[in-house]
């Protein structure tokens, strides 16, 4: 009952061109049937994400560990709430990040859980920068 060969093949890595995404905007792409948010963060969002005392977070993780160095403005997270799998809405909630409409979990501009029933941060999918404006997810 595990995924069949065609499902696995369809889950191969994808390339995403980042050049059309302006600062403060984000796009949603689908990879392996999962929505992936790619946010072009503003300076304010980055500063907010780095100003937090990491130890005080429910799932402690620094913003530096969640983005690629040299590309701090890009946040790439799987947009599936770690509570029960709903899709959070970007640019909502109290933390300039994501808000899940199902059970009220709130994530910050680094995709870290800040408030609500979700136990963990939004996961970062495996990805690499192919060039400055292109990433490969997977």
């Amino acid at each position: 009952m595990n995924p069949d060969a065609s499902t696995i093949a369809a889950g191969a890595p994808i390339e995403v061109d980042l050049s059309p995404v302006a600062e403060g905007q984000d796009i949603k792409v689908f990879w392996r049937g999962k929505p992936i948010y790619i946010s072009h963060r503003t300076k304010k969002q980055i500063d907010e994400a780095r100003a937090v005392n990491v130890a005080s977070l429910p799932d402690p993780q620094s913003d530096e560990a969640r983005v690629k160095s040299g590309h701090e403005q890009w946040l790439v997270v799987i947009g599936i709430c770690t509570h029960l799998g709903c899709i959070p809405i970007a640019h909502e909630g109290n933390y300039d990040g994501f808000f899940c409409p199902c059970h009220g979990s709130q994530y910050d501009s680094s995709g870290r859980i800040r408030q609500g029933p979700a136990p963990a941060n939004l996961p970062v999918p495996p990805y690499t920068f192919v060039s400055d404006t292109k990433i490969q997810i997977g």
Binding site: M1, P3, G11, L84, C86, P101, C102, G104
Partner: protein, 687 residues
């Protein structure tokens, strides 16, 4: 099922079979000669009602499966085509969908009856545990069945419930992948759920056979909780119990038919008329009403794993009930304290159900925690304690003695209790659509409302004109074919008029022999063409959001009616939230938003749209569409006509449904009456 039978058939052919396979003797000893306690009340007819419901679900399900397509791209459409094109498909679908709710309704009464009269106590522990297994199988079957229509609530319900298993330590993620057959809920998930949804009912039927077997070995419990001692304490299953069950079943069918024919969407969620979309989560995910108490328990525990454990143990704990409650007196009739706590427990369950439908915030969370503690306390503290400290009233020596003591006391009016209990249980339902800060649409008088409602033909024809001249520029109408315009119960055109209407459209067909696509005039078998070639084009031309298809819009939109209004709605058959909303939305545009409200660039202020900022500009203005029949050409009239038309497109067989419903009710009332008087006559010498 209780020992060798004395039964000897007269017919030689049957004797021949009986000597080789004593099946007739088995049937005779199980369902004819089988002794049942004389004092059983109508709460004991729910076993028969449940057997009937299982039969109805399997029968309608097998026929539905002949027309259903288990594919993520086609499932939603195939369900709509069942409702629209299959002969009596709407009836099959309503029977199956409402049947699931009725099945759970009956099983809850059956379980509470067992709880009240102590039917789980020695020597019926295995019987009770088999019942819990049936209930678990029913929950799995019901959940997978709800996924099959592949609407928004199906998809997101499946996502939330399958994600519960990710809470299991270490192997959680692998279990979820196994359930999905992929990296998320998708086509493989739908396929395996369909397969399992077809399989599990037969497993249920198998366990039901064991359940009945165990019942016939231990004998039935009864309201007084004393075992039958002499033949005077029992009556034969046939005719006494059978006729009583027949009357119970016919009353239950009346209740069931009310939903099938008049309130088919009352227990459902409007969001499930929107096709599944993995990119958009509905604002508020609610499971079906029969899971709500357990959903409330899940959500009231802040830790994910603990919540999942809490939810499952709320059901599993029932298996241990025979040992948690060790009181020797069975029936709560003779246990003054247990009786009170039983009713408190019922109220706790109903309230948990209500909370399960509410958004998880503020007071609801606190109340959910308190009630969750109460739920478990009933099993873990109250029952063990009561069985040690309670002083029960003396039980009668025999069933006949109990009947003598009770003579003259009228039998509880089952119908009234049923309706009251039903209203209470349904109280747990409430499709909580996000409507914060939005005005509720004003009520409207619709020609199609009520048990005898019919579509106003003039309004349908005018509404079609409004759709064609205005709405169809952006909105598709994918499930309506031109031939439907000539269907009975529709706008009332002739087949020739429908053909002429179709011929005005250009339809893309092909490829032809040269391999090219070509355009030809529409035929009646064609569907209304979409204004855009695909969803992306529709979204690109409309500021990023595709205009929704209008075929089902009046059933896919709703607003919260609130408590206690939705209970009254059950009796008044109010079903018109969708039309009220669409009608109000079309008239709710305001050029100048109220003080302090600004809507984003590219959106328009609408009083009734959730959030008020709608991408659709004001579509209708006075005098825009000309009417030939002298009706006023105002926005109000346009809105009313097009809404009536869209109600018809959402439910083209509504008139047939209500007409057949009336006939079925006449039949069932007469049938129930006949059963009642036959039962009276049969039981006359037994009392």
């Amino acid at each position: 099922m209780s020992g060798p039978s004395e039964f000897k058939p007269n017919n030689p052919a049957l004797q021949w079979i009986e000597r080789r396979l004593p099946i007739l003797g088995l049937m005779h000893s199980s369902f004819v000669a089988y002794p049942t306690p004389r004092n059983l009340n109508y709460w004991y007819t729910f076993g028969a009602i449940l057997s009937m419901m299982l039969g109805v679900q399997i029968l309608t399900g097998v026929i539905l499966a002949m027309h259903y397509t288990p594919h993520a791209d086609l499932a939603f459409k195939s369900v709509e085509l069942i409702v629209r094109d299959v002969n009596y498909g709407w009836l099959l679908r309503n029977m199956h969908a409402c049947g699931a709710s009725m099945f759970f309704f009956a099983v809850y009464i059956h379980m509470l009856r067992g709880l009240y009269y102590g039917s789980y106590k020695e020597p019926r522990e295995v019987l009770w545990i088999l019942g819990v297994i049936i209930y678990l199988l029913m929950m799995a079957t019901g959940f997978m069945g709800y996924v099959l229509p592949w609407g928004q609530m199906s998809f997101w319900g499946a996502t939330v419930i399958t994600n519960l298993f990710s809470a299991v330590p270490y192997v959680g993620e692998s279990i979820v992948t196994l359930l999905w057959g992929g990296y998320s809920v998708g086509n493989p998930t739908l396929n395996r759920f369909f397969s399992l949804h077809y399989l599990l009912p037969f497993l249920i039927a198998g366990v039901v056979v064991l359940h009945v077997w165990a019942l016939h070995v231990a004998g039935q419990n009864n309201p007084d909780g004393v075992e039958p001692k002499t033949p005077k304490d029992t009556v034969a299953f046939t005719p006494y119990a059978t006729i009583k069950d027949m009357f119970g079943v016919s009353c239950f069918l009346l209740f069931y038919a009310w939903f099938i024919f008049y309130m088919p969407n009352y227990l459902g969620d409007a969001d499930n008329y929107i096709p599944a979309n993995p990119g958009v989560t509905p604002p508020h995910i609610v499971p079906e009403w029969y899971y709500l108490p357990f959903y409330a328990i899940l959500r009231s525990i802040p830790n994910k794993l603990a919540g999942v454990i809490g939810m499952f143990s709320a059901i599993i704990i029932l298996c241990f009930l025979p040992w948690l409650d060790s009181a020797r007196t069975r029936s709560s009739k003779y246990r003054p304290l247990a009786k009170q706590f039983f009713w408190i427990f019922v109220v706790v369950c109903v309230l948990l159900g209500y909370l399960g439908a509410q958004p998880p915030e503020g007071i609801y969370v606190v109340a959910g925690r308190v009630l969750t503690v109460c739920y478990f306390a009933y099993f873990l503290i109250v029952l063990p304690l009561l069985s040690r400290i309670e002083k029960p009233r003396p039980v009668p020596n025999s069933i006949s003695e109990a009947i003598l003591a009770n003579s003259g006391k009228a039998v509880a009016s089952v119908a009234v209790t049923l309706v009251a209990a039903g209203a209470l249980l349904l109280g747990s339902l409430g499709d909580a659509r996000a409507s914060e800060g939005t005005d509720k649409p004003p009520g409207n008088k619709w020609s199609f409302a009520g048990p005898f409602g019919k579509f106003d033909r003039g309004a349908l024809q005018r509404g079609l004109k409004v759709y064609k001249e205005v709405c169809s520029n952006c909105h598709s109408l994918n499930y309506i074919a031109f031939r439907n315009l000539a269907d009975p119960g529709g706008p009332g055109y002739t087949a020739a008029q429908a053909a002429a209407f179709a011929a005005e459209y250009k339809v893309k067909d092909g490829p032809n022999e040269q391999g090219d696509m070509f355009e030809r005039p529409g035929r009646t078998a064609d569907y209304f063409p979409s204004p855009f070639p695909n969803e992306q084009a529709a979204a690109a031309a409309n500021g990023g959001k595709a205009p929704p298809d209008l075929s089902l819009i009046t059933k896919a939109r709703s607003y919260e009616r609130g408590f206690p209004q939705f209970i009254f709605d059950f009796f008044t058959q109010f079903q018109e939230q969708g039309p009220n909303y669409v009608d109000a939305l079309l008239q709710g545009f305001e050029d100048n938003p109220p003080e302090g409200v600004t809507v984003p660039e590219g959106t328009y202020y609408n009083k009734y749209y959730p959030g008020h900022a709608i991408k659709m500009p004001k579509p209708l203005s006075d005098g825009q569409v000309t009417y030939d029949d002298g009706s006023p050409t105002t926005v109000a009239q346009y809105a009313k006509d097009v809404t009536t038309f869209l109600m018809w497109t959402a439910e083209p067989h509504m008139e047939a449904r209500k007409r057949l419903g009336f006939q079925v009710f006449i039949f069932l009332i007469i049938f129930a009456g006949l059963m009642y008087f036959t039962k009276k006559k049969v039981w006359a010498d037994a009392h």
